[in-house]
């Protein structure tokens, strides 16, 4: 598993670390998965690498998050956990979810779909939630939202040519690729000619 080099520092074999990296991404077979978990329990160097791989992922996604690295925290929680009784829960009986990609998607999507319909009002934060639960009867909802006058629609401010220049410059550089590129031009249909 680990080999020692020269100065006596243990060095993780490359193959192990590559396995760990794949494990992190959930790309191992079920049997290998448990085996790696067991090894992480007993190998502190492997554990350290686990931490670093996770940190690398966090750093790629958000510098601010990665900067909140508190290595001592894990040890503190671990010590506090020792005082805790062992907790057994429903997971002890449920099966593994390690499956081929597509099938997993079905399972998760179905659950998320149901939940999100109910949770949607809360996700709006300080916006007042609609009185009736958001139903997925979309046809009714479509009609309702078109009929409702959105507050933003009242008296738009007089067009200032200055503001137009900003909008155009924003349009030029502000594409994200998800919204269709034509949207930026269609939206400005009502603007004056340059």
């Amino acid at each position: 598993m680990s080999t020692t080099q020269g100065a006596g520092k243990p060095v993780q074999a490359e193959a192990d670390l590559e396995l760990l990296s794949a494990w992190l991404d959930g790309e191992l077979e079920q049997g290998q998965y448990s085996a790696m978990l067991d090894r992480l329990k007993v190998d502190p160097a492997l554990r350290a690498q686990f931490e670093w791989f996770n940190l690398a992922g966090d750093a790629l996604r958000s510098h601010e998050v990665a900067a909140c690295h508190h290595p001592a925290l894990v040890g503190q929680v671990s010590r506090a956990l020792q005082a805790e009784p062992v907790r057994i829960g429903p997971g002890a009986l449920s099966g593994s979810r390690l499956r081929r990609h597509i099938a997993t998607g079905v399972t998760v999507a179905a659950a998320a779909g149901m939940l999100a319909v109910v949770a949607l009002p809360q996700l709006r934060g300080s916006y007042v939630a609609p009185a009736s639960p958001a139903s997925v009867a979309s046809e009714n909802r479509t009609v309702a939202t078109v009929a409702a006058a959105p507050p933003a629609a009242k008296a738009e401010p007089a067009r200032s040519p200055q503001l137009d220049a900003y909008f155009r410059a924003h349009r030029e550089l502000g594409a994200t690729g998800v919204m269709p590129s034509a949207a930026a031009y269609i939206r400005m249909a009502g603007e004056p000619d340059r």
Binding site: I102, G105, A116, V117, L123
Partner: protein, 333 residues
């Protein structure tokens, strides 16, 4: 807080980008299976189709009382998207796209403005906003099937996870991944704007002749707004973007059509919404303009020292204001 990087290179090669975008298969395969795609897969399919789908149709745009119709032709020529949008009512205009370059034709003014859209060299080096980041700030729910322009679409809700951004409702044609209708939603699901096809033909080969403009542009004035990339922090400016918004690009450019002093523009995005911050040193407004919004855009202007700072973006007014308030001149390096 953003970090100053030195990214000057598009990290993902153009050819690879094309390959990645070939993964439109999953949507079609899953069409029968219903909502069997993961949120990331839906977004990826939509983004792929936006570049690569072939379609012709009529788009109706609604915002408040305003309604505008346009004719649109779009196809992928093997290397780049080609597109032509022309107005069917109001002022005659056309927008002709070849890849990242768009020619904006204004026949009444006999003027063509050439816009260079799309990411320049991206900043920082990590490039475009990854789709999984979009899902950090929006939750995607798959809903029912509804018809748009006579075609069955899957409805997707992209609900913002916080009050910093707007929500979106998308109607996606499952075979192609094409968006046939989009609504931008504000508080209480109020509809801020809607872009929808009233008729569309998808997948048919499009004749290149469809891209030709309606008018000859001989003798027209040609306008460009060249810009070059800069590092805002080197010029002494600091902006704190709200959670999830990352820098797409920072440039120095001309704003108006006449030559004049340059403005700095920093563009932020969370993968769906984008916001631009304009800084014009020496152009401080006498009276800062009040917070405005126009459809999906909020605009806010204030003074910082002797500079005018203007924020424009598809975000709620408070978000635009908080970005504007965060702009500081720290020091020139």
């Amino acid at each position: 807080m953003r970090s100053a990087g030195v990214g000057c290179r598009r990290w993902l090669g153009a050819s690879l980008l094309g390959t990645v975008f070939c993964l439109a298969g999953p949507v079609a395969q899953a069409a029968d299976a219903g909502a069997a795609l993961s949120p990331v897969e839906w977004l990826r399919a939509i983004r792929t189709a936006a570049q690569r789908a072939n379609y012709t149709g009529t788009i109706v745009y609604q915002r408040g009382d305003e309604v505008h119709s346009s004719h649109i032709v779009h196809f992928f020529d093997g290397t780049a998207p080609r597109e032509r949008v022309l107005t069917l009512d109001g002022r005659p205009r056309e927008f002709i796209r070849h890849g990242d370059e768009v020619q904006c034709l204004y026949p009444k003014a006999r003027r063509v403005v050439i816009e260079q859209t799309g990411p320049r060299t991206t900043f920082p080096a990590l490039g475009q906003i990854g789709l999984s980041r979009v899902l950090d700030h929006y939750s995607l729910t798959v809903g029912d099937v509804e018809r748009v322009a006579g075609i069955e679409c899957r409805v997707l809700e992209l609900a913002p996870r916080d009050v910093l951004r707007y929500g979106y409702r998308l109607w996606v044609e499952p075979q192609s991944g094409l968006l046939l209708k989009v609504q931008v939603l504000g508080a209480d699901d109020a509809m801020i704007e809607q872009i929808a096809f009233s008729d569309v033909r998808i997948g048919e080969t499009v004749d290149k002749a469809e891209l030709k403009p309606s008018w000859s542009t001989a003798g027209w004035q040609v306008v460009r707004h060249p810009s070059h990339q800069i590092e805002l922090s080197r010029q002494g400016w600091s902006i704190t973007a709200p959670e999830g918004f990352r820098v797409l690009t920072e440039v120095e450019r001309n704003l108006g059509d006449e030559p004049g002093p340059a403005a700095l523009q920093a563009v932020y995005s969370d993968g769906l919404a984008t916001v631009s911050v304009f800084i014009e040193p020496g152009a401080a407004p006498a009276d800062p303009a009040p917070l405005q919004h126009r459809g999906p855009w909020s605009a806010f202007m204030r003074r910082v020292g002797d500079a005018r700072v203007t924020v424009v973006g598809e975000v709620p007014p408070t978000t635009a204001q908080s970005i504007a308030d965060s702009v500081r001149f720290v020091a020139a390096h």
